[in-house]
């Protein structure tokens, strides 16, 4: 092998621009824009969001634009198949199934959102207090949670139904008594993890007050967990409500929730299947879409998942 001589003159000093070295090519985005950009890439989540918006709009305005109210009975029109006048048919009292389904969806969603909101409020407060105070306070609060988890939810709900009148708020209360436990556990775990992170230590070293540490460091880093868990809370609340109505301890006639409708349809399944199929389809759509959207949000909201 012969050595190839490269003459000195051919070397040129590479000039590195100091500004360019520290340059970041990525456009400057806020956290919200960034999350939305990444959520948009997830086709399934966007579809779910779209379907959910339609379902919610129908639940809000469907009953308003229906020709019949959900409690109007018309004994000349019982068990009609779906037609132009009655898009989803009529039930055993001749009530418009279209109006009843959207009224039912409205009530189911109302119950679910209220229950999820109460879960969120109690769960986040309980979990955060438990994690921040630690020691004996934490131990006692965790035992309370364990006791609540130990009692089957169905028994609490049935006992509650015995002493309270059947209605929306009884169901919301029943769902909330134990529903917040998961949220409290997740928030506690997250805050315990954050508490010993170096950026929280740095804030303490800088003399930041406890209140500021909670507001600026702990809560913002827990929001992702909270939002996602609330997203999963909603379908599970809808499902529990449907289940309670189905076994007959939910809402009373003429009020309709999706569970009540499914229960009614189930009795006449062999002759009039459309009375079961349509409310079942709506509940499936809501549950699947909330789950997919929750999954998509989890990925989109986590800044560490960014590329």
């Amino acid at each position: 092998m012969t050595k190839t001589e490269i003459p000195q003159e051919l070397f040129v000093k590479a000039e590195v621009d100091k500004e360019a070295r520290e340059h970041i090519a990525r456009p400057n985005l806020t956290a919200f824009q960034d999350g939305w950009l990444r959520l948009k890439k997830n086709k399934a989540a966007v579809c779910s969001l779209f379907i959910l918006i339609i379902v919610i709009l129908l639940a809000l305005f469907g009953p308003v634009f229906a020709k019949h109210t959900f409690f109007d009975t018309d004994y000349s029109q019982i068990y009609k198949s779906p037609s132009a006048a009655y898009p989803f048919g009529t039930d055993q009292f001749g009530r418009d199934q279209w109006a009843r389904i959207w009224q039912g969806t409205r009530i189911s969603l109302l119950i679910a959102f209220t229950a999820a909101f109460i879960d969120l409020f109690i769960g986040v407060t309980f979990g955060a207090v438990s994690a921040l105070f630690g020691g004996k306070v934490d131990a006692v609060m965790q035992r309370i949670i364990e006791v609540l988890v130990g009692v089957p939810q169905l028994i609490i709900v049935i006992l509650l139904m015995m002493v309270m009148p059947a209605g929306i708020w009884t169901i919301v209360l029943a769902l909330s008594i134990t529903g917040w436990v998961n949220m409290a556990r997740l928030v506690r775990a997250q805050i315990l993890k954050l508490k010993s992170q170096e950026f929280v230590l740095a804030a303490r070293v800088l003399g930041t007050s406890n209140r500021e540490i909670i507001l600026k460091h702990l809560i913002p880093n827990t929001v992702g967990v909270i939002v996602i868990n609330a997203m999963f809370d909603i379908p599970s609340a809808i499902f529990t409500e449907a289940f309670l109505s189905f076994i007959g301890i939910g809402l009373a006639e003429p009020n309709a929730s999706l569970g009540v409708l499914i229960n009614n349809g189930y009795h006449v399944l062999q002759n009039f299947p459309y009375l079961l199929i349509f409310p079942a389809l709506v509940i499936i759509l809501i549950m699947v879409c909330f789950s997919i959207l929750g999954d998509g949000l989890r990925d989109a909201l986590d800044p560490r998942m960014r590329q």
Partner: protein, 326 residues
């Protein structure tokens, strides 16, 4: 050294952790030293020897189990008013080890750096606050447009410089650097170290520099303390310690530094250490190094050695050093 030059005096500092029934982990056990104004005090030792715990106890992230830390004459763990305590937190700052964990991923660089400015109300208006942040970014070699970015958009070295800017925002006198370079690439290490040196000259800072990279400590420190299992083994001026190590542990440690010259590296003789570091839980009363020391005697296994000044400014905790060398 005259008394007024001492900025930080650590005296018999102890920090124990209860790790179970009748089990105490003595992370820092009876450590004493002083740091002089304007110097860099290097603290070395292997993983788990209590370096970081010592740093965190000094800056009050942990309470002290015993002993005292005096900063400018005031006992930092003693009783003091909220205002005094707040002022103390302005004067003592810390740079953290992991640049990925030490910045809040949800906050913009502007708010991260301004955190200390907000906590101590150093800026009178929003514009002044923004200007201070931009100035600090320039000091650490970053640009104004970086202020509106989130930490995950930066490289490790850039993040560490943001951490440095955050510590400097409150104009501290004393900075504890807790392994500030161990998570960075070698090329970036030099950049950060040179920045720290430059800042020290410009702002008359005093550093407690915690590290396990000996050549880096040699480069930056004026005086070096060597820790082993929670206690100080040897303390001397940097040059004296590296040229003339007296403690068997320091000798072993220094002999492990690789040399850049391959010919010298070939002939480098190492002092091998037998065994591994014992568990720091419920240590018996003895020289903690006796289980691995090639020169251990009966006395070493029976009583803990005291720090002895063998030469002016050179302290060793070893029974073999009882009398100044003949």
């Amino acid at each position: 050294m005259p008394e007024e030059k001492v900025i930080l005096q650590v005296k018999n500092l102890k920090r124990y952790f209860n790790v179970g029934k009748n089990q105490t982990l003595k992370a820092v056990d009876d450590v004493s030293f002083s740091i002089y104004r304007g110097e860099t005090f290097g603290l070395v030792g292997e993983s788990g020897c209590g370096k970081s715990t010592l740093g965190r106890t000094i800056i009050r992230l942990y309470g002290a189990t015993g002993g005292s830390v005096r900063f400018d004459g005031a006992d930092v763990h003693g009783k003091m008013s909220a205002a005094q305590s707040h002022e103390l937190s302005r004067r003592m700052q810390m740079i953290f080890q992991d640049p990925y964990a030490s910045l809040n991923p949800r906050m913009k660089v502007m708010d991260i750096i301004a955190e200390g400015i907000d906590a101590h109300h150093l800026a009178k208006s929003a514009q002044e606050r923004a200007q201070m942040v931009v100035d600090l970014l320039e000091v650490v070699g970053l640009q104004e447009e970086h202020a509106n970015r989130f930490p995950h958009e930066f490289s490790g070295g850039q993040r560490q410089r943001i951490g440095i800017a955050r510590a400097l925002a409150v104009n501290p006198d004393f900075v504890i650097a807790d392994e500030p370079i161990s998570a960075l690439d070698v090329s970036i290490q030099a950049q950060v170290i040179n920045l720290l040196k430059k800042l020290q000259e410009e702002r008359k800072l005093t550093y407690l520099f915690i590290a396990h990279d000996l050549s880096m400590v040699k480069y930056i420190s004026d005086r070096v303390g060597v820790m082993y299992l929670g206690s100080m083994a040897e303390l001397a001026e940097s040059r004296e310690l590296f040229d003339n190590p007296l403690h068997p542990y320091t000798q072993a440690l220094l002999s492990a530094i690789p040399l850049p010259d391959p010919d010298l590296e070939q002939s480098r003789s190492r002092v091998p250490l037998q065994g591994s570091i014992p568990s720091p839980i419920n240590l018996p009363e003895c020289c903690h190094f006796c289980s691995r020391c090639p020169k251990a005697t009966e006395q070493c296994r029976k009583e803990a050695p005291k720090m002895v000044e063998v030469k002016p400014g050179h302290f060793v905790a070893c029974h073999l050093m009882k009398s100044p060398q003949a």
